[in-house]
């Protein structure tokens, strides 16, 4: 009990200490967007007849006619009330856009991370058990290939093979086949919503749609996870407690899994946390290739057209996700290694 309490207190402290950082991100992004040379008003006033008057109308609508400190004050006040502004690009409030798109990104990233962990950890363990063997080299080759092929190449390749040539995959456009009726939105996670609605066909359609992008993303992150598992397993297998375990004649399975892996998993958790946050923000290429309506492609589109509000909202969201993921990693740490709570 005391252990869990200590973990929670630690998590709470970490959360409080991250608040100033979030505020900093907020102000910094705000300023950065305004320093960038593109003027959203000019870009969006791009009908064939848009002249000076239209540009002024849009500038006023965006509040860009006011002095910058005033704009910042208004922005902070709005964010405080949970209003992230309106996107010119989609015409929707940013928080609505992000709320709709974040589950799409999370669902994809979590699935990809799960696939990556399920394949990377055993790969890393197998490689560590027989260092410098053929298996080890095989794993290394696979990982290198995965990480050096950019995701849009592997994505297009998977589409070409599984959709275009074999016709096995559904068309790579979005989260669910366009002719399937989406379930009533409860959580925003289609896999969960379909189950809640009791629509198994729909659930299956969503799973099929998810497979190609998830594998594309997983391929890219298997490498760091497998490498770190291997390295930390090597240390762990060479340590004295494993030698002791061997000498008392414990089964091989027990030695490897219960003693070696449990001790080796800490760095893997850390890396998985970092990989997850990075994937969520940086999977823009996968989202583009598979027309996945996620937050990253949304932010990129907004950035290209200097649509301030969505970019600011996205950066704030990502910063918050990083904070949450770090907290989660802290908690998992405590569970995996009770000694960590003391530190």
């Amino acid at each position: 009990m005391g252990m869990i309490g200590a973990t929670l207190i630690r998590a709470g402290q970490r959360f409080l200490s991250s608040l100033p950082a979030l505020f900093g991100v907020l102000v910094f992004t705000f300023l950065l967007m305004r320093v960038l040379p593109g003027d959203p008003a000019v870009f969006f006033a791009s009908g064939p007849n848009a002249g000076k008057e239209e540009i002024e109308v849009i500038r006023k609508q965006l509040g860009l006619d006011k002095p910058m400190p005033e704009q910042l004050a208004i922005y902070l006040y709005d964010v405080g009330r949970g209003n992230l502004g309106r996107s010119m690009m989609t015409g929707q409030p940013v928080e609505k856009d992000l709320k709709e798109r974040l589950p799409a990104s999370l669902e994809l990233t979590l699935t990809a991370l799960l696939i990556a962990l399920i394949s990377a950890v055993p790969l890393g363990v197998v490689a560590a058990l027989r260092p410098n063997s053929l298996i080890d080299h095989g794993v290394r080759l696979f990982c290198s290939l995965g990480v050096c092929v950019p995701t849009f190449v592997s994505g297009l390749l998977l589409i070409y093979v599984f959709y275009y040539l074999l016709g096995l995959a559904p068309d790579p456009t979005g989260r669910v086949d366009i002719f399937t009726t989406p379930p009533p939105a409860r959580t925003g996670f289609l896999l969960i919503d379909f189950l809640l609605a009791g629509d198994l066909d729909g659930w299956w359609a969503a799973v099929r749609q998810l497979m190609l992008p998830a594998f594309t993303m997983a391929l890219f992150v298997i490498a760091p996870l497998a490498r770190i598992t291997r390295a930390s397993m090597l240390v762990s297998l060479g340590s004295e407690f494993v030698r002791t375990a061997r000498s008392v004649g414990l089964s091989r399975w027990r030695i490897v899994v219960t003693y070696a892996l449990r001790n080796a998993i800490l760095p893997v958790i850390t890396i998985a946390g970092i990989v997850f946050s990075t994937m969520l923000g940086a999977n823009v290429l996968v989202e583009k290739v598979f027309s996945w309506p996620g937050v990253a492609s949304y932010a990129l589109d907004a950035l290209l057209v200097s649509d301030y509000a969505p970019v600011q909202g996205f950066v704030l969201l990502m910063a918050s996700v990083f904070v949450v993921v770090n907290l989660l990693v802290d908690v998992l740490y405590g569970i995996a290694d009770p000694r960590a709570t003391v530190a």
Binding site: K52, G91, Q92, V257, L304
Partner: protein
Amino acid sequence: MSLLISRRLFPAAAALLAVTLAAPAARAQSRAETLRYVTGASVNTLDPNIPGSTREAFALSMSSYDRLVSFGRKQLNGKWVFDLDTITGELAESYAVSSDGLKITFKLRPDAKFHDGTPVTAEDVKWSLDRCVTAPVLGKAQLLTGSLTSADQFKVIDPLTFEVTLPRPDKLALPNLATVYPIIINSKLAKAHATADDPWALNWTKENEAGSGAYIVETFKPGEQAIAKRNEAWNRGSPDKPASFKRLIIQSVPEPATRANLVERGDADLVIDLQASDVQALEGKGKLKVISTPQYNAVTFISMNNKIPPFDNVNVRRAIAYALPYDDMFKAALFSRGSPMFGATWTDGKPPSGAYPIPQPVKFDLDKARGYLKDAGLPEGFSTTFSFNVGQASSAEPMAALVKESLEKIGIKVDIQKLPDAQMSTAINEKKLPFFTEGIVAWLPSTDYFYRNFYTGNQRWNYSSTDNAELEKIAQAARFEPDKAKYEAAGKELNAIHFDQMLQIPLWQPAQDAVMAPNLDGYVYQFTRQVDYRNLSRK
């Protein structure tokens, strides 16, 4: 424990990909009656008047809303294109222009109804057009070009008769009413959602549709898709029956290669924004129907700001015009898909036509270019930047490389700048770019319109920053010239000035490549450079 599971799962996960993908997809039966259109852009508002509307939003509004009148179609080199000179009634059953050209009277269709079942009346028309010229919307600047500027010009005669008064006869007044913006809105519905801050209900129409058009919007997810169903009561199409497709899906697919795959596999029916190389390949395979129409209301330029040295010197501009490897650029940028605006021969050096744009009598000739550069007093050349926007990169990037390579041969050192779209528009608007490539488009392409909008004033679309009193005078006078021969003569004069001063260099009119399922019929190239979904049917 968890590892035990993952160990067992590992081979399963490896097989998962193949297994999950092998199951047959559940297809709705109505596939044949559905038009699935995929695009790299997206619909961002249901009201095309909202500042920031995308072209896809324009296209959807053509189907969800009716206007008083619409353009007919004609054949141009064997392909159907919109016809500015044939204006047919849409919500108007008929219209009449008074003999002095100052009054246009519209008789509305008595059977026309909005999507909620209420009849369309002259009151709705008045409210909608008042809004178009009064509210802070895109329509204002457009209707201005047809002398429609004030609510006083619109009058309700009776519930089915509506009258427009003009300050002077303007041949663009009627065509303007057929453009995207003057949609006829269900005024009772819209007024119910108006607020004190927003008397014209712009915030509501942005996300809600209140029209009488051929399709009723069902789902609208900005950035993802819009789905509409057929309005069975609609009879404004040419044969007086509803649109052919029961359902319309407009889906955003950002990756061009994926769009090409979709249409080739038959999962999508129509796409108009593929990369030129993909179009070439698909056309070669011969499985799909490809209709390439030169965008005859658009031009791509190499523009020079006539006010920034050394481009303020006409001989420098001429030198550039003769130093461009046009054929290579055309091939590299567009796989020669379009109509070239170079390599013409003008007898006696006079423009053969008063139309705009017309092919220019320029060709790749480095010696001539060197001569002009010498006349300009810059025989050693100079350094400059050449800019294009990221959105155009697939065609502009190879072209920019060729421009750089070729100009280097006459001593002009070019630094290529690739700018994000918003940054490029800002720089153009602020007149900061000396040398760049951009395109223009006009919905109502007439010579005077092009010259008035793209060659006058200190505004964004005057890429060349042209400030030529004579040109301005001729173009303004031509606007209200009723005599066709005189208009043609004025057009020729304008074209002669353009070439003599080498204001900017027209390169080509890129083709609109519509790639579609072989059984799709009725595609017409529209002024919006988008698909009018109402035209299409399946054989």
